[in-house]
Amino acid sequence: MSIDLTTTLGPLTLCSPVIAASGTFGYGTETGTEVDLRRIGAVCVKGLTLLPRYGNPPPRLIETPCGIMNSVGLENPGIDRFIEEVLPRIPPSLKVIVNIAGATLEDYVTLAAKASIPRVSALEVNVSCPNVKSQCLAWGLDPTATFELTRAVKASTHLPVIVKLTPNAPDVVKVALAAEQGGADIISLVNTFLALSIDVERRRPVFSNTFAGLSGPAIMPIALRMVWQVAGAVGVPVIGMGGILTARDALQFLMAGASAVAVGSANLRDPAAIPAIVNGIEEFMEREAVSHVSELVGAARPEGPSNRGAGQAESRRRTGHCPENESADALFQSRA
């Protein structure tokens, strides 16, 4: 039978439901011909800031049981050098999602405008980086801030806007609804969990920034629960991620209601992890006689599968929940 992996996320169409998560696949230029990029739905590039950032001092990455902690600190060449020097080197077959991270609302607006060029397929608004001293993470902890930021970014780009949520928010569903109300086309979650490791000989935290982000299989069940909750609450498509290592892990996220998934830490263990996961999804679909990947989306939910790609978000938005001048907080109370 013919298997169709084409994935529609509102205005964004991908050749496969598996995306390379930001910060775990570089710029798509590092793996040469050794990884079959045609199997990868898109690469979410390492978070970009207005000015170059040199990143945090080492150590930046340690292993934990079934996972890793990182504190890279958004090392990146800055948006201008990325567009001039890096973007042209990304293989043309690979769709590019630009992850943007700022300290102020103006930073995000400028970044969104600069990144809105034809080679870029979508923007991912990083409101959840735990490893920089500026206020990146703070945006994603607060529904009102997320609403305002999303609205501002949306107004400064024609590209589909993905808002990447942090699992560290007190109520991730409220933040997701805020992003949707702000105009997000797609919600992605989760970024890393704020975590701590202590060097007992030195009697100090391992990381210079004290806390760092935990990812990998260790956090997968929690991420999956959050994706389930958010997918049940919002009308826009959801990209689910958090510790996916195998095709079965990815299938769980799809069945929880994610329309696509992103793979992160697994790329660091095996740079060919995504093609292997896509092959595994395809084998599962063949075995289960599933012809289109969208049939799996939400399959484990009580309300059954849903095709979130096909304009559901639009219809939800038209139902009157989005008066521009109503206070964001009031909206979330009515929806949550």
Binding site: G26, Y54, P57, P58, R60, T64, C66, G216, N267
Partner: protein, 259 residues
């Protein structure tokens, strides 16, 4: 460019209680490998340890390569228990190795402890290129002197030194280097950071250093293995990636701190 290869374990040698050499058949990787590059070994098919473990290429043949390592944690413990006939997923050759396109030069190799690991392949290649090689091998005691005979058999002049004088001279590898009447044309060093720091202070020729650090992906994706490399005009530290910019760096490319 690195490749991934399921490599067959041909031989596991236990050189000491906790020091092992594993020889692999890995023709795709061995074919392109250069001394000083590393292989990134998947030590577990389960979730833990999650990441691969990097090892300098120790000896290199047409379709075979070996790694020499000390058991220091869970990954190396698992690796030490493999048996011939098993296959392990290797990623390599990874990183930038030592410059080996020199000829007619006198090259001095300085190894401290397990830093001797890349020296056999390096000495072999340099000698084949028509160079004269002097190898200084420093270790804590006679039991920890590895590869001295092998490197000598390749045709290098080998000078052994130990902390307690149980083999060779009782001095450090760097003090041995300082005492050389002829310091050669170029020096390559691999060993603990304090040794590399000292080498950088006392060297009088061009010097290349192989750094050992924790490496995440090994392919430049994660930016986890940052090595301070210089400063911006406004004093910010600039980093280089040990996994793809190194692990071998020219001494001027890295900032090493006194320990």
């Amino acid at each position: 460019m690195w490749k991934q290869e399921n490599a067959e374990v041909l031989e596991v040698e236990r050189l000491l209680d906790e020091v092992f050499r594993i020889r692999f058949r890995a023709d795709r990787i061995a074919r392109d490998a250069a001394p000083g590059q590393f292989v990134h070994v998947l030590c577990s098919h389960h979730h833990s340890p999650f990441l691969r473990r990097p090892f300098s290429i120790n000896r290199l043949d047409e379709d075979e390569l070996s790694v020499l390592f000390k058991v220091v944690g869970e990954g190396t413990r698992l690796l030490s228990r493999v048996t011939p006939g098993q296959t392990l997923n290797l990623l390599g050759p990874a990183g930038r190795g030592f410059p080996v396109n020199v000829s007619g030069a006198h090259v001095v190799l300085v190894a401290g402890g397990m830093g001797v690991a890349p020296m056999p392949a390096l000495a072999h290649r340099l000698l084949a290129g028509g160079n004269r090689v002097t190898a200084i091998i420093g270790a804590r005691n006679a039991r920890y002197v590895f590869e001295a005979d092998h490197i000598a058999q390749c045709g290098a002049e080998v000078l052994v030194c130990t902390d307690d004088g149980s083999a060779g001279a009782r001095r450090s590898a760097t003090s041995m280097y300082r005492s050389l009447p002829d310091k050669g044309d170029i020096a390559y060093a691999c060993g603990p950071l304090p040794m590399l720091y000292e080498m950088k202070q006392c060297v009088v020729t061009p010097l290349w250093l192989s750094l050992e650090t924790r490496i995440g992906c090994g392919t430049g994706l994660c930016l986890g293995c940052a090595q301070p490399s210089g400063y911006t005009e406004d004093g910010q530290v600039v980093y280089r990636k040990v996994c793809t910019d190194g692990p071998v760096f020219h001494a001027s490319e890295v900032i090493l701190l006194e320990h």
